[in-house]
Amino acid sequence: MSGPTRSARSIFDENFPWVFRYVDRMIGDAAVAADIAQETFVRLYRRREPPDDLRAWLATVAHNLVRDDRRRQARRARLLAARAPEHTMADPPPDPDARIGDADEGQAVRRALAALSEREQRLLLLRSEGLSYRELGLILGLNEASVGTLLARARAAFQEALRAP
Protein backbone atom coordinates (compact mmCIF):
# COMPACT_ATOMS: atom_id res chain seq x y z
CA MET A 1 0.00 0.00 0.00
CA SER A 2 1.38 3.38 -0.92
CA GLY A 3 1.92 6.07 1.70
CA PRO A 4 0.01 9.32 2.10
CA THR A 5 0.21 11.81 -0.73
CA ARG A 6 2.01 15.07 -0.14
CA SER A 7 -1.31 16.94 0.02
CA ALA A 8 -2.71 14.48 2.61
CA ARG A 9 0.38 15.08 4.71
CA SER A 10 0.37 18.86 4.32
CA ILE A 11 -3.38 19.05 5.07
CA PHE A 12 -2.70 17.03 8.21
CA ASP A 13 0.29 19.11 9.30
CA GLU A 14 -1.58 22.36 8.80
CA ASN A 15 -4.84 21.34 10.40
CA PHE A 16 -4.39 18.55 12.93
CA PRO A 17 -2.96 20.80 15.68
CA TRP A 18 -5.91 23.19 15.70
CA VAL A 19 -8.53 20.44 15.32
CA PHE A 20 -7.01 18.63 18.32
CA ARG A 21 -6.82 21.87 20.33
CA TYR A 22 -10.42 22.80 19.47
CA VAL A 23 -11.76 19.40 20.56
CA ASP A 24 -9.51 19.30 23.64
CA ARG A 25 -10.74 22.72 24.77
CA MET A 26 -14.31 21.63 24.10
CA ILE A 27 -14.20 18.41 26.16
CA GLY A 28 -11.16 18.77 28.43
CA ASP A 29 -9.85 15.24 27.86
CA ALA A 30 -6.67 15.04 25.80
CA ALA A 31 -6.92 11.29 25.10
CA VAL A 32 -10.50 11.49 23.82
CA ALA A 33 -9.66 14.67 21.91
CA ALA A 34 -6.76 12.87 20.19
CA ASP A 35 -9.08 10.02 19.16
CA ILE A 36 -11.73 12.40 17.84
CA ALA A 37 -9.21 14.54 15.96
CA GLN A 38 -7.70 11.42 14.35
CA GLU A 39 -11.13 10.07 13.41
CA THR A 40 -11.91 13.43 11.78
CA PHE A 41 -8.90 13.01 9.51
CA VAL A 42 -9.70 9.36 8.79
CA ARG A 43 -13.10 10.55 7.52
CA LEU A 44 -11.43 13.24 5.48
CA TYR A 45 -9.11 10.72 3.82
CA ARG A 46 -12.03 8.43 3.03
CA ARG A 47 -13.47 11.14 0.80
CA ARG A 48 -12.42 11.03 -2.83
CA GLU A 49 -11.50 14.70 -2.80
CA PRO A 50 -11.13 17.32 -0.09
CA PRO A 51 -14.21 19.47 0.60
CA ASP A 52 -14.34 23.03 -0.76
CA ASP A 53 -14.28 24.61 2.68
CA LEU A 54 -11.78 22.34 4.33
CA ARG A 55 -11.52 24.06 7.71
CA ALA A 56 -15.27 24.47 8.04
CA TRP A 57 -15.72 20.79 7.12
CA LEU A 58 -13.11 19.65 9.66
CA ALA A 59 -14.67 21.76 12.42
CA THR A 60 -18.14 20.42 11.63
CA VAL A 61 -17.11 16.75 11.52
CA ALA A 62 -15.03 17.10 14.69
CA HIS A 63 -18.01 18.70 16.40
CA ASN A 64 -20.37 15.93 15.26
CA LEU A 65 -17.93 13.40 16.73
CA VAL A 66 -17.79 15.36 20.01
CA ARG A 67 -21.59 15.26 20.11
CA ASP A 68 -21.62 11.51 19.43
CA ASP A 69 -19.07 11.01 22.20
CA ARG A 70 -21.13 13.07 24.64
CA ARG A 71 -24.22 11.04 23.76
CA ARG A 72 -22.30 7.81 24.38
CA GLN A 73 -20.98 9.12 27.70
CA ALA A 74 -24.47 10.16 28.80
CA ARG A 75 -25.87 6.73 27.87
CA ARG A 76 -23.06 5.02 29.77
CA ALA A 77 -23.70 7.23 32.79
CA ARG A 78 -27.42 6.39 32.69
CA LEU A 79 -26.68 2.68 32.47
CA LEU A 80 -24.23 2.87 35.36
CA ALA A 81 -26.75 4.83 37.43
CA ALA A 82 -29.43 2.23 36.67
CA ARG A 83 -27.14 -0.60 37.73
CA ALA A 84 -25.93 1.12 40.89
CA PRO A 85 -26.94 -0.55 44.17
CA GLU A 86 -30.06 0.86 45.79
CA HIS A 87 -28.41 1.94 49.00
CA THR A 88 -25.61 4.15 47.82
CA MET A 89 -23.92 6.56 50.13
CA ALA A 90 -24.61 10.21 49.59
CA ASP A 91 -21.87 12.30 48.03
CA PRO A 92 -19.36 13.39 50.65
CA PRO A 93 -19.49 17.06 51.57
CA PRO A 94 -17.10 19.22 49.57
CA ASP A 95 -13.59 19.25 50.89
CA PRO A 96 -12.68 22.77 52.06
CA ASP A 97 -9.15 22.22 50.76
CA ALA A 98 -10.51 21.56 47.27
CA ARG A 99 -11.28 25.23 46.95
CA ILE A 100 -7.59 25.89 46.80
CA GLY A 101 -7.59 23.91 43.53
CA ASP A 102 -10.49 26.01 42.28
CA ALA A 103 -8.25 29.01 42.32
CA ASP A 104 -6.26 27.43 39.56
CA GLU A 105 -6.59 29.58 36.48
CA GLY A 106 -7.09 26.65 34.15
CA GLN A 107 -10.08 25.42 36.13
CA ALA A 108 -11.53 28.91 36.12
CA VAL A 109 -11.21 29.03 32.33
CA ARG A 110 -12.87 25.63 32.01
CA ARG A 111 -15.74 26.72 34.27
CA ALA A 112 -16.16 29.93 32.27
CA LEU A 113 -16.29 27.96 29.02
CA ALA A 114 -18.81 25.56 30.49
CA ALA A 115 -21.02 28.52 31.39
CA LEU A 116 -21.42 29.40 27.69
CA SER A 117 -23.96 27.91 25.31
CA GLU A 118 -22.65 25.36 22.82
CA ARG A 119 -22.85 27.92 20.01
CA GLU A 120 -20.95 30.50 22.06
CA GLN A 121 -18.26 27.93 22.86
CA ARG A 122 -17.86 27.04 19.20
CA LEU A 123 -17.68 30.67 18.11
CA LEU A 124 -15.13 31.57 20.75
CA LEU A 125 -12.93 28.51 20.26
CA LEU A 126 -13.01 28.44 16.47
CA ARG A 127 -12.32 32.16 16.19
CA SER A 128 -9.36 31.73 18.51
CA GLU A 129 -8.08 29.15 16.00
CA GLY A 130 -8.15 31.81 13.30
CA LEU A 131 -11.28 30.72 11.42
CA SER A 132 -12.76 33.61 9.47
CA TYR A 133 -16.21 35.10 9.97
CA ARG A 134 -17.20 33.51 6.65
CA GLU A 135 -16.10 30.07 7.87
CA LEU A 136 -17.85 30.53 11.21
CA GLY A 137 -21.00 31.54 9.32
CA LEU A 138 -20.79 28.38 7.21
CA ILE A 139 -20.28 26.13 10.23
CA LEU A 140 -23.06 27.63 12.32
CA GLY A 141 -25.49 28.57 9.57
CA LEU A 142 -25.19 32.31 10.27
CA ASN A 143 -24.52 35.34 8.11
CA GLU A 144 -21.27 37.22 8.71
CA ALA A 145 -22.94 40.17 10.46
CA SER A 146 -24.58 37.82 12.97
CA VAL A 147 -21.23 36.10 13.56
CA GLY A 148 -19.73 39.41 14.74
CA THR A 149 -22.64 40.15 17.08
CA LEU A 150 -22.81 36.66 18.55
CA LEU A 151 -19.04 36.45 18.91
CA ALA A 152 -18.98 39.72 20.85
CA ARG A 153 -21.71 38.35 23.12
CA ALA A 154 -19.82 35.09 23.59
CA ARG A 155 -16.67 36.98 24.57
CA ALA A 156 -18.56 39.19 27.00
CA ALA A 157 -20.22 36.15 28.59
CA PHE A 158 -16.85 34.36 28.81
CA GLN A 159 -15.16 37.35 30.48
CA GLU A 160 -18.04 37.75 32.91
CA ALA A 161 -17.97 34.05 33.80
CA LEU A 162 -14.21 34.27 34.23
CA ARG A 163 -14.59 37.14 36.69
CA ALA A 164 -17.37 35.40 38.65
CA PRO A 165 -16.23 34.09 42.04
Binding site: M1, G3, P4, A8, R9, F12, D13, F16, P17, F20, R21, D24, R25, G28, A30, A33, A34, Q38, F41, V42, R43, L44, Y45, R46, R47, R48, E49, P51, D52, W57, T60, V61, H63, N64, E105, G106, V109, R110, L113, L124, L125, R127, S128, Y133, I139, L140, G141, G148, L151, A152, R155, F158, Q159, L162
Partner: protein, 221 residues
Protein backbone atom coordinates in the same frame (compact mmCIF):
# COMPACT_ATOMS: atom_id res chain seq x y z
CA UNK B 1 -16.13 55.77 16.21
CA UNK B 2 -14.09 52.86 17.53
CA UNK B 3 -12.73 49.85 15.69
CA UNK B 4 -14.76 46.64 15.83
CA UNK B 5 -13.29 43.41 17.19
CA UNK B 6 -12.76 41.95 13.74
CA UNK B 7 -10.69 44.92 12.58
CA UNK B 8 -8.63 44.88 15.76
CA UNK B 9 -8.00 41.15 15.46
CA UNK B 10 -7.04 41.40 11.81
CA UNK B 11 -4.55 44.24 12.25
CA UNK B 12 -1.30 43.12 10.71
CA UNK B 13 -2.95 41.10 7.98
CA UNK B 14 -2.75 44.08 5.63
CA UNK B 15 -5.36 45.49 3.29
CA UNK B 16 -6.69 48.89 2.43
CA UNK B 17 -8.08 49.81 5.80
CA UNK B 18 -4.98 48.71 7.69
CA UNK B 19 -3.25 52.12 7.72
CA UNK B 20 -6.39 53.98 8.81
CA UNK B 21 -7.10 51.40 11.50
CA UNK B 22 -3.51 51.51 12.74
CA UNK B 23 -3.56 55.28 12.99
CA UNK B 24 -6.78 55.11 14.98
CA UNK B 25 -5.36 52.41 17.22
CA UNK B 26 -2.26 54.50 18.01
CA UNK B 27 -4.43 57.32 19.31
CA UNK B 28 -7.43 55.54 20.87
CA UNK B 29 -7.06 54.28 24.43
CA UNK B 30 -10.43 52.50 24.23
CA UNK B 31 -9.39 50.41 21.22
CA UNK B 32 -5.98 49.71 22.75
CA UNK B 33 -7.73 48.40 25.86
CA UNK B 34 -10.04 46.26 23.72
CA UNK B 35 -7.03 44.79 21.90
CA UNK B 36 -5.56 43.85 25.27
CA UNK B 37 -8.87 42.22 26.28
CA UNK B 38 -9.03 40.16 23.09
CA UNK B 39 -5.46 39.07 23.62
CA UNK B 40 -6.25 38.12 27.24
CA UNK B 41 -9.14 35.93 26.08
CA UNK B 42 -6.90 34.12 23.59
CA UNK B 43 -4.18 33.70 26.23
CA UNK B 44 -6.58 32.45 28.88
CA UNK B 45 -7.77 29.68 26.55
CA UNK B 46 -4.21 28.40 26.23
CA UNK B 47 -4.24 27.71 29.99
CA UNK B 48 -6.42 24.62 29.42
CA UNK B 49 -4.41 23.25 26.49
CA UNK B 50 -2.72 19.86 26.55
CA UNK B 51 0.22 19.09 24.29
CA UNK B 52 -0.86 17.70 20.92
CA UNK B 53 -0.04 14.01 20.47
CA UNK B 54 2.40 12.88 17.81
CA UNK B 55 0.39 11.11 15.14
CA UNK B 56 1.73 9.21 12.16
CA UNK B 57 -0.29 10.41 9.19
CA UNK B 58 0.60 7.23 7.26
CA UNK B 59 -1.32 5.18 9.84
CA UNK B 60 -4.38 7.42 9.52
CA UNK B 61 -4.41 7.19 5.73
CA UNK B 62 -4.03 3.41 5.96
CA UNK B 63 -6.92 3.26 8.45
CA UNK B 64 -9.07 5.29 6.09
CA UNK B 65 -8.31 2.90 3.22
CA UNK B 66 -8.68 -0.28 5.21
CA UNK B 67 -11.95 0.48 6.89
CA UNK B 68 -14.06 -0.18 3.82
CA UNK B 69 -12.61 -3.57 2.98
CA UNK B 70 -13.94 -5.59 5.97
CA UNK B 71 -17.39 -4.02 5.57
CA UNK B 72 -17.53 -4.98 1.89
CA UNK B 73 -16.29 -8.51 2.58
CA UNK B 74 -18.77 -8.95 5.45
CA UNK B 75 -21.61 -7.60 3.31
CA UNK B 76 -20.77 -9.93 0.42
CA UNK B 77 -20.47 -12.87 2.81
CA UNK B 78 -23.83 -12.12 4.41
CA UNK B 79 -25.52 -11.82 1.01
CA UNK B 80 -24.04 -15.12 -0.15
CA UNK B 81 -25.10 -16.89 3.05
CA UNK B 82 -28.63 -15.46 2.81
CA UNK B 83 -28.91 -16.48 -0.85
CA UNK B 84 -27.78 -20.03 -0.07
CA UNK B 85 -30.15 -20.27 2.89
CA UNK B 86 -33.07 -18.91 0.87
CA UNK B 87 -32.44 -21.45 -1.89
CA UNK B 88 -33.39 -24.36 0.42
CA UNK B 89 -37.15 -25.05 0.09
CA UNK B 90 -37.78 -25.61 3.82
CA UNK B 91 -35.40 -22.96 5.14
CA UNK B 92 -36.61 -20.49 7.80
CA UNK B 93 -34.97 -17.70 5.74
CA UNK B 94 -37.26 -18.52 2.83
CA UNK B 95 -40.32 -18.45 5.13
CA UNK B 96 -39.20 -15.14 6.64
CA UNK B 97 -38.80 -13.58 3.20
CA UNK B 98 -42.28 -14.78 2.24
CA UNK B 99 -43.74 -13.27 5.43
CA UNK B 100 -42.06 -9.92 4.74
CA UNK B 101 -43.30 -9.90 1.16
CA UNK B 102 -46.87 -10.68 2.35
CA UNK B 103 -46.74 -7.85 4.86
CA UNK B 104 -45.52 -5.40 2.27
CA UNK B 105 -48.28 -6.33 -0.14
CA UNK B 106 -50.94 -5.56 2.45
CA UNK B 107 -49.27 -2.47 3.93
CA UNK B 108 -50.67 0.95 3.03
CA UNK B 109 -48.72 2.84 0.40
CA UNK B 110 -45.96 4.95 1.88
CA UNK B 111 -45.41 8.35 0.30
CA UNK B 112 -42.28 7.90 -1.71
CA UNK B 113 -40.67 9.72 -4.57
CA UNK B 114 -37.63 9.12 -6.73
CA UNK B 115 -36.10 11.50 -9.17
CA UNK B 116 -33.08 11.13 -11.41
CA UNK B 117 -31.38 13.51 -13.70
CA UNK B 118 -27.93 13.60 -15.22
CA UNK B 119 -26.72 10.48 -13.44
CA UNK B 120 -27.62 11.68 -9.92
CA UNK B 121 -30.66 10.24 -8.18
CA UNK B 122 -32.36 10.65 -4.82
CA UNK B 123 -35.18 8.65 -3.23
CA UNK B 124 -37.28 10.15 -0.47
CA UNK B 125 -39.66 8.19 1.71
CA UNK B 126 -41.90 9.46 4.47
CA UNK B 127 -43.42 7.10 6.99
CA UNK B 128 -44.98 8.29 10.23
CA UNK B 129 -42.46 10.68 11.70
CA UNK B 130 -39.44 9.46 9.76
CA UNK B 131 -38.21 10.93 6.50
CA UNK B 132 -35.67 8.75 4.68
CA UNK B 133 -33.44 10.51 2.20
CA UNK B 134 -31.47 8.07 0.09
CA UNK B 135 -28.87 9.02 -2.48
CA UNK B 136 -28.59 6.26 -5.07
CA UNK B 137 -25.52 7.71 -6.74
CA UNK B 138 -22.83 10.24 -6.01
CA UNK B 139 -24.57 13.58 -5.61
CA UNK B 140 -22.68 16.61 -6.79
CA UNK B 141 -25.17 19.44 -6.42
CA UNK B 142 -24.00 20.64 -3.01
CA UNK B 143 -25.12 20.60 0.61
CA UNK B 144 -28.43 18.94 1.44
CA UNK B 145 -30.72 20.89 3.78
CA UNK B 146 -33.76 19.41 5.46
CA UNK B 147 -35.86 22.18 6.94
CA UNK B 148 -39.16 22.48 8.68
CA UNK B 149 -41.34 25.40 9.50
CA UNK B 150 -42.20 25.05 13.15
CA UNK B 151 -38.89 25.64 14.95
CA UNK B 152 -38.96 22.03 16.22
CA UNK B 153 -35.83 20.01 16.79
CA UNK B 154 -35.00 17.53 14.05
CA UNK B 155 -32.97 14.40 14.73
CA UNK B 156 -30.84 12.93 11.99
CA UNK B 157 -29.17 9.53 11.73
CA UNK B 158 -27.01 8.31 8.88
CA UNK B 159 -28.24 4.84 7.94
CA UNK B 160 -25.68 3.85 5.35
CA UNK B 161 -23.09 5.09 2.90
CA UNK B 162 -19.93 7.08 3.27
CA UNK B 163 -19.44 9.06 6.42
CA UNK B 164 -20.02 12.78 5.94
CA UNK B 165 -20.38 15.84 8.12
CA UNK B 166 -23.77 17.10 9.15
CA UNK B 167 -25.00 19.77 11.46
CA UNK B 168 -28.28 20.19 13.28
CA UNK B 169 -29.17 23.88 13.15
CA UNK B 170 -32.17 25.76 14.54
CA UNK B 171 -33.45 26.05 10.96
CA UNK B 172 -33.10 22.34 10.15
CA UNK B 173 -30.41 19.86 9.22
CA UNK B 174 -27.52 20.51 6.85
CA UNK B 175 -25.65 17.55 5.35
CA UNK B 176 -22.28 18.14 3.74
CA UNK B 177 -22.50 15.16 1.39
CA UNK B 178 -21.44 16.68 -1.91
CA UNK B 179 -19.47 14.05 -3.82
CA UNK B 180 -20.63 11.13 -1.67
CA UNK B 181 -23.32 8.44 -1.54
CA UNK B 182 -25.20 8.08 1.72
CA UNK B 183 -28.70 7.72 3.18
CA UNK B 184 -30.21 9.38 6.21
CA UNK B 185 -33.20 9.14 8.49
CA UNK B 186 -34.61 12.34 9.90
CA UNK B 187 -37.18 12.26 12.70
CA UNK B 188 -39.67 15.00 11.99
CA UNK B 189 -42.27 15.94 14.61
CA UNK B 190 -45.88 15.43 13.55
CA UNK B 191 -47.64 18.45 12.11
CA UNK B 192 -44.46 19.91 10.71
CA UNK B 193 -43.97 20.78 7.05
CA UNK B 194 -40.86 19.19 5.55
CA UNK B 195 -38.75 20.87 2.89
CA UNK B 196 -35.68 19.22 1.33
CA UNK B 197 -33.09 21.13 -0.67
CA UNK B 198 -30.10 19.84 -2.61
CA UNK B 199 -27.72 22.73 -3.08
CA UNK B 200 -30.08 25.68 -3.46
CA UNK B 201 -32.84 23.77 -5.24
CA UNK B 202 -35.96 22.63 -3.43
CA UNK B 203 -36.49 19.02 -4.46
CA UNK B 204 -39.21 17.89 -2.10
CA UNK B 205 -42.04 19.34 -0.02
CA UNK B 206 -44.86 17.84 2.04
CA UNK B 207 -47.98 19.15 3.66
CA UNK B 208 -47.95 19.67 7.44
CA UNK B 209 -49.27 16.15 8.02
CA UNK B 210 -46.52 14.66 5.79
CA UNK B 211 -49.05 13.90 3.09
CA UNK B 212 -48.88 14.79 -0.58
CA UNK B 213 -45.12 14.57 -1.01
CA UNK B 214 -44.09 16.25 -4.18
CA UNK B 215 -40.75 16.14 -5.99
CA UNK B 216 -40.05 19.47 -7.55
CA UNK B 217 -36.79 18.65 -9.28
CA UNK B 218 -33.20 17.75 -8.69
CA UNK B 219 -30.30 19.97 -9.52
CA UNK B 220 -28.32 18.50 -12.36
CA UNK B 221 -24.79 17.57 -11.33
Amino acid sequence: MHLDDRTIEELGIGGEREMVARRHMDECAFCQARAVQLNDIRRSLTLIDHPAPTIDVTTLVARARQRRAPVLIAGAGALLAAALAAALPSSPVRRAIARVLDRHQSAPTVPRATVARGGSSIAIQLQDSIARVMFRSRQTAGTVSIAEAGGHALRITQIDGESVGYDVLPSGVKIDNAGSVASYEVRVPAGVRVLILVGTDTVFVTGPDHTAPRVIGLAAP
